[in-house]
């Protein structure tokens, strides 16, 4: 009951935001994309126990594929954009499926290391490929609507994506999919010994992540208005690292944790940028250290250990259908 009120309030806030704080629409677009980052990272890193450092690959693929479709397909703006988003998502999923069957066979740290180079390699490839603008990057086509309409339009797209990601994952975690990825996290050898098709679940999980990240990339390319191969698309040292931190900060393996982590991290980061001038990188590095040392289980994980009864720990764990919902 309390939860549905909270959800309704969040939804109402997201819908009213452009009217309430029009100057912050682009900022808010990035914030909701951060939520998509941490939720999709947590699907593997938190729920399944596979720490991926290469998820930004799918984001960049979605961004580039969408921009290419927008550049080369000559339908109306909305039709081309829709086609671009769909193609971006499809390409990201296809790459996840192909990579997954190889890399997801690696366990633990080996998987993490195996994914480390993905984003970097893709960034270098894109920077050297003239078809997508090479190192000079790409500029998505002009938004045809009224001045200022672009910000509102893409804000709503990004917010809709974040909401869709949240509810899709919530639904997945409530069924056999959620049980299976948790089982893989807790003891993959046991899951295999019980006959589970672990590779299927692992690949599917990565594809789900890639799907939402691909769409996210397609949207962000248009929000930013300029695509740089290393800074915007395959931004491993920023987005790629942040998605891991946000999920850890909020609480790995929970549904609301990554959301909370993304909001707190993004706001803190922006305050640093505004008020700390030349020191923002140092402050951000310091924040990262603080998160990893003091919140290894995240805010939700920490609070749950401190006040288990308040968090209804047992009750929450009790009903799979509502687990961390």
């Amino acid at each position: 009951m309390k939860r549905s009120i909270l959800r309704a309030a969040v939804l109402a806030f997201l819908i009213a935001f452009p009217a309430l704080l029009p100057a912050w629409r682009t900022q808010m677009s990035y914030l909701v994309i951060m939520i998509v980052f941490s939720l999709t990272w947590d699907l593997l890193g938190g729920q399944m126990g596979y720490n991926s450092f290469g998820n930004v690959l799918f984001f960049g693929i979605g961004m580039y594929v969408c921009a290419v479709v927008q550049r080369d397909a000559h339908f109306s703006y909305p039709a081309t954009l829709a086609l671009g988003i769909a193609a971006g998502a499809a390409a990201a999923v296809a790459v996840a499926a192909i990579l997954g069957s190889g890399i997801l066979g690696l366990r633990g740290h080996y998987f993490a290391i195996g994914t480390l180079g993905l984003g970097i390699a893709a960034g270098e490839l894109a920077a050297g490929w003239d078809f997508v603008g090479g190192g000079g990057g790409m500029v998505p086509p002009q938004y045809p609507g009224a001045l200022g309409g672009r910000e509102t339009f893409f804000y709503y797209l990004a917010a809709a994506l974040a909401v869709a990601t949240f509810f899709t994952l919530r639904w997945l975690y409530g069924g056999r999919f959620g049980l299976a990825v948790n089982a893989i996290r807790d003891d993959e050898d046991k899951a295999e010994a019980m006959g589970l098709w672990t590779t299927r679940y692992k690949t599917a999980a990565w594809c789900v992540s890639a799907f939402f990240l691909g769409i996210g990339g397609a949207i962000v390319g248009n929000v930013s208005g300029f695509i740089d191969p290393r800074e915007t698309a395959f931004a491993g040292s920023t987005y790629g690292v942040w998605m891991v931190l946000m999920a850890i900060l909020g609480g790995k393996g929970t549904l609301w944790g990554p959301v909370l982590g993304a909001v707190i991290f993004h706001i803190t980061k922006e305050l640093f940028w505004t008020y700390l001038l030349d020191w923002q990188q140092v402050a951000l590095g310091f924040l990262i250290v603080v998160i990893v040392i003091f919140f290894p289980v995240g805010i939700l994980g920490w609070a749950r250990e401190k006040w288990p009864e308040k968090f209804g720990h047992r009750v929450e764990e009790a009903k799979p259908a509502e687990a961390s919902g």
Partner: protein
Amino acid sequence: MTPILEVTRVRKTFGGVVANRDVSLSVPEGKIYGLIGPNGSGKTTLFSSIVGTHPIDSGSIKFRGEEVSRLRVPQIARLGLLRTFQQTRIYGKMTCVQNLLISVPPAALSWRSMLARPSAAETKKAEDLLQFVGLHAKRHLRAGDLSFGQQKLLELAMALMSEPRMLLLDEPTAGINPTLINDLIDRLRRINAELGITLLVIEHNMRVVMGLAQYIYCLAHGELLAEGEPAAVKSDKRVIEAYLGAH
């Protein structure tokens, strides 16, 4: 009767250690068989070989007439041959009920079921099985918070949830309170009689294995030392010596 499990001259070495030296045994369908032997005699290694955890050096393993020695662990599990682990393996951060709900029979693990919700029937079956092993009151606790003995019982319930044809149990009574061992023996008999699951049980407790198994194989130093009815094995000189010599 044709054997459900037939192990022929299986050999398994780890570096220089010969853990199983040409071991042969067979278990007829519907029976309870025992596997005994001193510590380090190769019992767990044999179980691991049977379920495909590691490749065997030579020999043959047939389950229901099919050669399984080249199959992978999950493939063998889906044929209906499951093992429990000596050092229990459960899903620690999930609740007991969730541990069971993800241990459904292989037929319920199709592509489409990836998106399924646990059905009311599955939930009821999970709760009934937890009741059966005496963990019903703890069903919403995290499995990792259970004691070792309770985890053993949970692992047994998980195996039953999956409706196997045959179960290889690695020391099911280890860590179980002595006063509850009789209950457990009784449950194992019911699993065999009522659910028709063939059992092969590794057991150190002589009283348990003598009372439970219809036929016993004894390993020593990786080799099959003796086999026969419980009474015969119990009084076998070589068996007695192997156990005394090991201590």
